[in-house]
């Protein structure tokens, strides 16, 4: 199935019965799929009048404790910014999908990874994070959607699937055999008091600065727990690597091809593929920095993840960028060239 369809079906399997969205290429298949499936399973599909309306509908359903999602692509996610911040301020669990396209502005409709900063550094105003998951196959589009809902509920926060146009459009076989953890109890949900308790309120407005500060500190304590427990990454041929390539999503597939070719040429090179972009997998880079002579960050952007790579490797080895932007994808040959160049001492 298509990457976008895999997200939609996995969300349904994860128990999501509420989808609100607004069409934008290259993620529209998610909405189209939900429009067909939701009415048949007693769920709610609603094409909102705008991205802002859609994200606020997500806030509404999240407040009631039900699993809920929206999806969009880059410019649409920018429009949702206010809602993302409100969800964070009210500690609401929800799943947001961003099938990225080239930017800035309206940009283009071809794949990109240039919303990395937006996704991992908050995505809107205020101190907050989202858990950001970066799939690199159609199977992972499904797997991480289920995982995204589980993490969102576990930590009362928003998860984001950060995919790109390629991941959304490509077709691969998928197994949808999931053992979904049921949603935890949500005593905070505004789902009716049944005259047995006080009213619950979900809210992101705290006029007392002391109270607002306290909420922020509490939230960041939770973020520490997530950083310690939920970081995910894949290592490929890193055991004896003298050069480290790093990439996420579609770029990691290109990088793997280049690594296989470089290995054939006798170059000891491996890959670190972050799966969670926030929390960023610091540990493998820290370790790699003691082992390799340099790191190459392969990105479909002007270089965004590279900043986290430099921080994680504590600038102990040179970190170079191998990139295309604006909807273009680096070729395996381009990545191979970067690897050969670094192997020949060409790293700056």
């Amino acid at each position: 199935m298509k990457g976008n369809e895999a997200i939609a079906e996995a969300a349904i399997i994860a128990g999501c019965r509420h989808y609100f969205g607004y069409p934008i290429t290259p993620q529209t298949e998610i909405a189209a799929y939900m429009a067909k499936r939701m009415p048949k399973i007693g769920g709610c599909f609603l094409q909102a009048e705008s991205e802002i309306a859609a994200i606020n509908m997500v806030y509404g359903v999240a407040s009631t404790g039900h699993r809920v999602m929206t999806s969009s692509s880059s410019p649409g996610v920018s429009l949702k910014g206010e809602g993302l911040s409100y969800l964070a301020g009210a500690d609401m669990p929800a799943l947001i999908v961003n099938v990225q396209r080239g930017g800035p502005g309206l940009g283009g409709i071809q794949p990109s990874q240039s919303d990395y900063f937006q996704a991992t550094k908050g995505g809107a105003h205020g101190d907050f994070h989202m858990i950001v998951l970066a799939p690199a196959s159609v199977q992972e589009m499904a797997d991480l959607t289920v995982k995204g809902f589980e993490l969102a509920d576990k930590y009362r926060m928003t998860s984001m699937i950060l995919a790109d146009g390629t991941m959304g459009q490509m077709m691969e076989p998928v197994s949808l055999d999931f053992d979904v953890k049921p949603a935890p109890e949500k005593p905070w949900a505004t789902n009716g008091t049944n005259l047995e308790r006080e009213h619950n309120i979900t809210n992101s407005l705290f006029l007392s600065p002391e109270k607002l500060e306290e909420e922020n500190f509490k939230r960041y304590e939770r973020y520490k727990v997530i950083e310690e427990n939920e970081t995910m990454y894949e290592e490929y041929m890193m055991e004896d690597a003298e050069i480290c390539v790093t990439a996420f999503g579609i770029a990691s597939r290109v990088a793997k091809n280049a690594i296989d070719e470089a290995r054939k040429q006798g170059i000891k090179v491996g890959l670190i593929r972050p799966i969670t972009l926030w929390p960023f997998p610091v540990a493998p880079f820290k370790k790699a920095a003691e082992q390799v002579k340099g790191i190459i960050s392969v990105e479909l952007s002007m270089g965004q993840m590279i900043e986290d790579v430099r921080l994680a490797s504590e600038c102990k080895v040179p970190v170079t960028l191998c990139n295309r932007a604006g909807g273009m994808i680096p070729s395996p040959e381009q990545v191979l060239e970067a690897i050969i160049s670094m192997n020949n001492g060409g790293a700056k």
Binding site: T25, P26, K36, E172, P173, I329
Partner: protein, 220 residues
């Protein structure tokens, strides 16, 4: 295969219509001079006939596609020379219709003329391995939606059940009962089972009317 003047290919989106359309156009061209292929898919701007424009040109097959196809301009505009398909009766055409009822809606613009001329086949392309058409009931539902949106009736079924590059001969064999059941339920003949040509030798003799496909190159 014998071809009528117009061959329509419709189906659930992602069922493989574009690849079949291209291969049918190539086959018609072997015995007939004036051949056109029309890409009426104005819903999905990514994977489409226009990606094969060069190969079609080499073979002398006229491509009718939206001016915006492949330009990344996300505008659902129909190709202006679409009307030549029904006005020029000397052309043999394959029409690659967009997926589902949403895609077939565009066909409604010319389907009354195609029906009136009555020299056409309309094939429903089915793929058991697509998530929304895994069984007969769901396939019939999609079929009815397409017929309503496009204002036409299907005349045959093409079984294109596949799992992309990972398709095995066994996957194809396991889809035969489904295809026959769809054929029975609709009363429409099963025209052929289309497979990647790499599987053709393995399946030859095991399936009636096997149609080998040379797959369109996907864009990187």
């Amino acid at each position: 295969m014998e071809y009528k003047r117009i061959t329509l290919l419709c189906g659930h989106y992602g069922s493989g219509k574009t690849n079949i359309a291209l291969n049918m156009a190539y086959e018609i061209k072997e015995n007939y001079d004036n051949v056109a292929i029309a890409d009426l898919d104005i819903v999905n701007p990514y994977f489409r006939t226009k990606d094969s424009a060069e190969e079609l040109k080499e073979k002398g097959i006229r491509l009718i596609a939206s001016e915006y196809a492949g330009t990344n301009v996300d505008i659902p505009a129909l190709p202006q020379d679409m009307y030549s398909l029904t006005d020029d009766k000397t052309v043999k055409a394959v029409i690659d219709v967009g997926g589902d009822d949403r895609g077939a809606l565009a066909l409604g613009r010319i389907s009354p003329k195609i029906m009136a001329e009555n020299d056409y086949e309309a094939f429903l392309v089915i793929n058991k391995y697509r998530p929304l058409t895994p069984d007969v009931a769901s396939t019939l539902e999609v079929m009815a939606e397409i017929e309503t949106a496009g204002s036409f009736k299907f005349t045959g079924i093409i079984n294109n059940s596949n799992l992309g590059v990972q398709t095995t001969a066994e996957d194809v064999l396991n889809s035969l009962k489904y295809a026959e059941d769809v054929s029975k339920a609709t009363g429409l003949p099963l025209i052929c089972t289309s497979v990647n040509k790499t599987l053709f030798d393995e399946l030859c003799g095991k399936i009636d009317n096997l149609f080998p496909l040379k797959l369109q190159k996907k864009i990187n």
